[in-house]
Amino acid sequence: MNQIVKDFMVTLSDYATTYKGATLYEAVLALETAKKDVDQTVHPHWVVLVLDENDEVIGKLSQLNLLMALEPKTEYTAVVDRLDRFGFSSKFVASIRETSLNNEAIDNYLYPDNLAMDMKVDDFMKTLSENEFIDENTTLNSAAHQFSIRKRLSLLVTREEKTVGVLRLADVFSALITAMKKAHNDEGEPA
């Protein structure tokens, strides 16, 4: 694995992006459009990057973030959400959430109304932390190690402080499999 990160990253221009101030619906469309664009590849996009007015990445939106944004939010759900901090078992909290979702009043929450779709991405995007970034010249070996210890599905690739692309775990893993196969075959060949 002598390659470096920039050989495997998806450039920012090929990635699903939206802008600060966009609505949840616009973010979903961006994700869908980008998914169509890369239909020929093995691994589709699953994250929308949020850009500011200078095209700098300021946040990320995963499918999970989008689903969480659509969850019903009431004073009651806020109470349930914090039960795990107060020593309740995850089984207990899950059962309370299940009961709450079965409540007729919020039965159709997965088909959100305009109010939900008009929520601004700024309000539910994941803001970036220091360990989200990796330099484009990092070796793939080191990148694989970074994924392992940072426990992330993607890292933002930087060139002199500017974000230029996204390195996805799936792409690194594909390279790893290829390298493993090559090593295995090389060992198996007769001298």
């Binding site: 004073e75 009651y76 109470v79 914090r82 039960l83 901090r85 107060f86 020593g87 309740f88 078992s89 207990f92 059962s95 309370i96 009961t99």
Partner: protein, 472 residues
């Protein structure tokens, strides 16, 4: 007054440093406190033959505060607070913690250091198995009408009408009107109106007061003083206490049986009657109250136009108005139970009213005997999601959810823990005194001498009390 201002800022800084991880800044909450008030009142302490005596006060302001037992105060401001050390452990006691029987090697002492306590009650003993002889309150701010009950704490901010009960706390913010009984917590920001009783491995009870409705009763945000119906209720009766603090030798206005104790710093008005073995603590307010045998009215309680049949407990800060309580009713800390003259509140015998319960009704409400009650109740209908018969609750083996109340664990263990504690409270307070044995606070606290102490009247140290050491 330079010294007291410096002290004030020093305490604030230390608390903020401890709470930096939670992003909490106590500054706007306490800068509304008029420091001028801190120099107006004397401090006082009690002496009895029943409690080990050892006071040490250093570089502190103790305005209007009361001390009993063994207590050390360093670099602290205690405003109209009660530091009641009559339940501290004694040398030779054995402290039971889980399977450990831990010997107590010295008389326990309350140690308040670098802290600001406003109208706070400190009582009971340290339940921290790691600190048996030292009940510490360090780098902590507690606001109006809060209770620190058997809860050593370090680096905490305790909101108005909040209670920390039998819980060691490190670097926590306890919201207004929150009640916490959870053994040990750290780095938690507890929302306003949270009621949390947890015994790990056995049970976990959690209730959340609805925020908007709670704000009507207790509201305290940055930059403005505490507000709400509970604050108004207490403020409306503040003047009644003026006389008991102004007069040195005060006469009891009503007959008190020889087995009962009516604290000289309590207020009685109207047709109030006191039964055998009754204990009425300091800063309690009784007006047209009928207290049957063994009733216990603790600090900062109000009982108005109400009948308590016998062996009832009004825990610290409870308020009972226009109500009739059967025997053995427990009313938890800071509860506010208000009926109306023509629509009285009735609570049957053996009921447990959870700490920080608000029952404020215009129509008549009748709670049957043997019920567990919690939360905010403003109508008879609210009882459906805020009460359950103790028998039903005892059958809970895994979990229960009713409205904003969540319970996980064994219901029988939870009820048993409460009932054990109620029996302990009654016993400790002398409710079961038979004329010769089973003496408690009601009998022992009759013989207390009170001494007053005063701060520097002028100069840089104005408001600071001189270093004082009081020993037997």
């Amino acid at each position: 007054m330079k010294a007291i201002v410096t002290l004030f800022e020093r305490i604030l800084q230390r608390v903020n440093i401890n709470l930096r991880e939670l992003g909490f800044d106590a500054t706007p909450y306490i800068h509304i406190i008029p420091i001028g008030q801190m120099i107006k009142f004397y401090g006082f302490y009690g002496i009895t033959p029943h409690h080990p005596l050892n006071f040490k006060f250093k570089n502190s302001n103790l305005a209007g505060s009361y001390f009993l037992g063994r207590c050390q105060v360093n670099n602290a401001i205690l405003y109209k607070s009660d530091i009641r050390g009559d339940e501290l452990k004694k040398r030779g006691d054995i402290f039971q913690y889980n399977d450990y029987k831990i010997p107590v090697v010295d008389n326990e002492e309350i140690q308040v250091e670098d802290s600001l306590l406003i109208k706070t009650l400190v009582h009971n003993f340290s339940h921290d198995p790691e600190s048996l002889e030292r009940f510490f309150i360090k780098d902590t701010i507690s606001m109006n009408h809060s209770n620190i009950h058997g809860s050593p704490c370090e680096g905490c901010f305790i909101g108005a009408f909040a209670t920390a009960d039998l819980t060691t706390m490190h670097d926590c913010v306890i919201g207004n009107f929150a009640y916490i009984q959870a053994e040990e917590i750290s780095h938690l920001n507890i929302p306003h109106g949270t009621i949390w009783v947890r015994n790990p491995g056995k049970f976990n009870f959690y209730y959340q007061h609805p925020q908007e409705k709670l704000n009507e009763y207790v509201y305290f945000s940055a930059g403005s003083p505490p507000q709400g119906k509970l604050i108004d209720f207490v403020a409306d009766r503040k003047e009644a206490f003026q006389r008991v603090f102004d007069v040195v030798n005060i006469e009891q206005l009503i007959p008190v049986p020889s087995s009962a104790s009516l604290d000289r710093y309590s207020v009685t008005r109207g047709q109030t009657t006191i039964g055998e073995n009754v204990l009425v603590a300091q800063r309690a307010y009784l007006q047209n109250a009928s207290l049957g045998k063994g009733v216990n009215v603790q600090e900062n309680c109000f009982v108005i136009n109400s009948n308590l049949e016998g062996n009832d407990v009004a825990a610290h800060g409870a308020k009972i108005i226009e109500a009739d309580l059967g025997s053995m009713v427990f009313v938890g800390f800071n509860s506010f139970l208000r009926g109306r003259p023509d629509n009285r509140l009735t609570i049957g015998e053996n009921c447990i009213v959870m700490p920080h319960t608000i029952i404020d009704v215009n129509g008549a409400v009748n709670i049957p005997p043997d019920y567990l009650v919690w939360g905010l109740i403003q109508s008879e209908e609210d009882l459906e999601t805020h009460s359950i018969s103790i028998e039903e609750f005892t059958k809970v083996e895994t979990r229960l959810a009713m409205g904003n109340m969540f319970f996980e664990g064994n219901g029988a263990a939870f009820i048993e823990a409460f009932q054990d504690r109620i029996r302990h409270i009654l016993k400790a307070n002398g409710a079961f005194f038979n004329g010769a044995e089973k003496k408690g606070h009601a009998q022992k606290n009759q013989y207390i001498s009170f001494n007053t102490i005063q701060p520097y009247p002028e100069g840089n140290k104005k408001g600071i009390f001189p270093t004082i050491v009081i020993k037997p």
